[in-house]
Symmetry: C2
Subunit: 104 residues, 2 copies
DNA sequence: TCAATTAGTCAAAAAAACATGACCACCAAC
DNA sequence: GTTGGTGGTCATGTTTTTTTGACTAATTGA
């Protein structure tokens, strides 16, 4: 059967889906760090105090599935993995920018 | 003592707080309905299939606390309560607009 | 060969969000 | 005075999200 990820609600509320893709305890911070360049799993754990492997792994996976981040195996000295903002992810900066005027 | 609602994280990630204020199962839809004019408690329950008193009440309260909605007692024939977008709430349309290009 | 760093997974527990059903008070019409 | 609409609260239960801790497996450097 053919299914999608949209609830009936989202059909009439486009923002809802995007909100879901960006929401969560760690995603906004990961996004922000990714703006400064590629991010890495263990580095994130150190940069995000209070975070944990599981949550960071889940956030990275979901952001990859949402086409916000792109996962790359870097064939260099200490072989490692990088997560970089996708084109769609980079375009989302505008969403974040639009939020920056509202610091209550 | 002086406290605020910001975690250490939010200090360095402004979007996080706004994201929190807009996230949740019903807030985006309530916001959207409020764009068309004042919304009312029982009307919302009818307009949001699958919703319930508790969740809608909580959403309205939190959006009021976040200065997105303003609660008004309308002194008219059948005395009732209206929730209207605050100035800040109206300004937030830009945030929603910025999300509308990303329908994956 | 041993230890550290890389990047994870898995099961389970704890915490947060959301839903259910009962109840309340006020007002108006019948 | 009972029914129906207004706008809720409260206690409880379920579901979702997040955390914890144990474990894995490949790579690297000494």
């Amino acid at each position: 059967m053919t299914t999608n990820n949209f609830s009936q609600d989202e059909a009439s509320c486009p923002a809802e889906g995007i909100l879901k893709q960006l929401s969560g305890k760690w995603k906004p911070q990961i996004f922000r760090l990714a703006l400064d360049g590629p991010v890495r799993f263990n580095a994130l754990l150190r940069q995000l105090p209070g975070s944990n492997k599981q949550s960071v792994a889940t956030a990275l996976k979901e952001m990859e599935e949402a086409d916000i981040l792109v996962k790359t195996v870097v064939q260099e000295k200490p072989l490692h993995i990088e997560y970089t903002l996708s084109e769609r992810g980079r375009a989302m900066v505008t969403v974040f920018r639009s939020m920056e005027g509202f610091l209550s």
